[in-house]
Amino acid sequence: MITFFNILVVINLCFNLSASSTNEIKHQIKVIHKGISLTEHTECILVELQDEEGKPQEFYMDVESVVCGDKQCRVDLVRIYWDKFGRYDRLELPEGIELEKAGGEFFSAIDYDKLNTILKDKNSPLQDVYKSEIVGTIASEGIDAMTGATILVERSAYVQGAVWTCYSLWHWAHSEAKKIIRNITGDAYSISELQYLLQQNNHQHFAIEQLTRRKDFSKRTNELMLRAIEVNTELLKPSLPYWENAPKLIYLNAMQQLIPHANKTNRLLCFNAILQTSQNPSPDFFNELNLPVHKLTYQEIDLFLRILIEKNGITQEGISQLFALLYSNDFLIARRVFWFLKEQKLSKLQEHQINKFHQKWKDKL
């Protein structure tokens, strides 16, 4: 058991355990650690440190510094800290313990700095590496044996002489524990606190994720969500599960507000969401979308027409608007619209236009 800890790196002093924490809650959790097993969960104790108001302040877990490799490195019990949003914060060692590199050499101050930088990088090259890719293996036609001779990961991704330590700790720091921490924190926040975070640049993803979990579809949350997406269009995608689970009226209203101003990527996301939704939009919904049809790509037109068919969204008004696209410079769009319109109930004039198109392009239809 760990008794005393020597704080190595303190990123945020206000999270200093000794300074303000008053309560510890232990959570028994199961996580997959890529260095231990790709399929079996490992049971761990995640400790929540609460502030004086009983809210999560930070979290830690005591883990082994090396969980895989050539068994040449010494294994120490170390403590990993996350902030309340599941972001890696710092590492602490028991007093008198120093991390060791190959050959029994201790980590230098520079090594600790580098380790900390590596652990803070959620996109580290270590992310996609399997333990078997760390070093070369040697084998003939029989059973493989590990040599540890060649390290195959790029140098910047690990402290030289301590690749297994870096690999093990990175995968602890970025394990499923992060998501569990976010949910514990999210549950401890009130709706208004989450709404506040939705307006803060740094925590919008967290707020959207937790408001979706909490199924809060209040008017205030809807408005804040739409405003946030307007400012930062990248938030549309993570917000889609929120809208999909919202009551129909809120869903349709959100789509009507989002689609006309969206860029191509977001418009396709919305179209696909509508295609797959269990909500049931009325034909009027489509008429009122106010689409900039002449700016749409073939893929968008194709998808939109598919939605109209599958969701029974065809109206005379919509048909009239689409006729303009028969004369699109993009023949694929014109042809696609032709086939759609050909199947609709048309006026005589419209039928004439369709026949004319057919006559002109019959070899390409």
């Binding site: 399997y130 078997s132 070093v135 003939s140 694929l332 199947e343 239809l365």
Partner: protein, 653 residues
Amino acid sequence: MKRRKFFKNTVKGALGASIIPLTSFSDISAQSSNNINNTEAEKPYRNTDPKQWHQMGTGKKPRPDRRKTLTYDVAVIGGGAAGMCAAISAARNGAKVVLVQDRPVLGGNSSSEIRVHLNGVNHLKNGLPERETGIIEEILLHNRFHNPQDAYPVWDHILYDFITREKNLDVKLNTSAIRAIMSDDGKIKAAYCWQSTTETEFTIEADLFIDCSGDGLLGATAGALYRTGREASSEFNEKYAPEKEDGWQMGSTVLLGSKDMGRPMPFEAPHFTIKYDAEKSHKGRQLKPFELGFWWVELGSDNDIIGEFEDNKHKLLGYAYGVWDYMKNSGDFPETENYALDWVSSLPGKRESRRFIGDYILCEPDMLGNKQFSDAVAFGGWSLDEHNPGGIENLSEPPSYFHQYFEEPYQIPFRSLYSKNVPNLLFAGRNISQTHIALSSSRIMATCALEGQAVGTAAALCAKKNVLPRELGQKNITELQEQLLRDDAFIPYRPANDKNNLVKKAKLIFASSTSSGDPKLLNDGWSRDYNGKDHHWQSEGLPAQVQIEWDERQSISKIEIKCDTNVKRNIMLRRDSLENDVYTTQIPKELLKSLDAEARVNGKWIKVGTIEKNRTRLIKFYFEKIETSAIRINLKETYGNKNCRLFEARCYS
């Protein structure tokens, strides 16, 4: 222990375990053999009386006449990985094919008789595989679906199932191709074969012969040039070759297996055991893990490795039991106390003997320098893994010299896969045209399988065009490569550019969602991500759709797509059922399971095919020809991944 000689180095000895008929040969060359007085003309009833057999049930007195002449486009000799892939590819490409295998089972070194892992490019220098696709992958996937228990005897029948379901393909097991019957123009006219189980002589006539037998008896009796032993380093500028040429050929191995019986299991060694001297052994002769035997229990030869096979086999059994005796009775391995042998191979797995001479001899600098061949048709990438001279009789040296790992796969040219002097003879497997050092890498079975698919496809094209392999290589190499790529073979740095592929003419390719890659890459000719470059499209979630649009109407009857099976993970059958990050016993979770395809005809989408339980990387929808301006592939489910990844989409008229 004194060496026992089972066979002298007679013809019979040279044939190893094969049994040859003592009756006549019907070919001209046979008449000059020792059996000249036993020819058909002189002994029409072949030493039997036509009324000798009294069949009690019917009362008939039949005279069995078990001589058959069969005619094919392509005859493949040898039913290992190379031979199977050669036979299947030739048959699928329209040739009438026979596969002749001298054992009761298929699979060669990978069969239950030998149990060597069907390795390929298992690990490059970066530690990752670059797995083979094409027919060999289909076979390995077939095994994953039907043999989750990893049983070797079942594997034999996985192969049997796979190959006997193929149209245009006859399989003759327990049949040895004993000699070539030659025509006046120097070509092989027929293979004279003996099926031991039915006492039947087959004369197999064919336009093309593919020798995938490893030892290459058919080719040798046809007079095809070949080499054995090691080249001098100066001949091909090979840094790992000896200074002076010699006769050394890498050895054969006897594998064994044991199981934990849950109680102490004493072991008493049989009389032919040869004591293992662990103290004198190089530390590379690893004794752990011990459960599945030791690949380094190996004996080669400086001379006639084929003729010495049975003698070497006797010694190998002695050495194998010797190592096991040491594990059980030296006292140094208490963990073996409850273990007992439950299988010891009686058929050593061969690594090397004849290497035929083709128009090109593949060598070490080609591989290490990654030489780009305009006639590349296959690839390899196992390390230069040259087993030590002397094998287990040279204990002080490491069992193998892993001279060098490859940064990336090397190419194998078509000119190394047909004979220089027998014009209708092709070959694939360890007997191809290469140096000893090149063989140290390319002998691996999945690499041999790629060569097999290449020569099988080539033979079918030769039959179709009525040309010989050399001419095909000179005039039609593009067609051969394109067909291989279409059939899901991979040739490094040779992207497909099939002018018949109608997707090349498409105006637009798009997908319903994209989490990585780009739908346009389905048309870039590459069927895998390679060397750090993406060549895929991946959906974001499922279901997903890919749509291909043409400006003009197209006549289409075939849609072919290539999905992901994760070529960075090995899926071959292993005796240890290893499950880790680069080996799996599972069906690849990336593999597409269910999908359908639609074509737009007169503005309406028509379903042209549905697959609910797909089991292959190359997925085909074949249907009545239709006129269409767009197709749509609806991807529904994988075997575990939430996203689906495709590499290629093709359409043909």
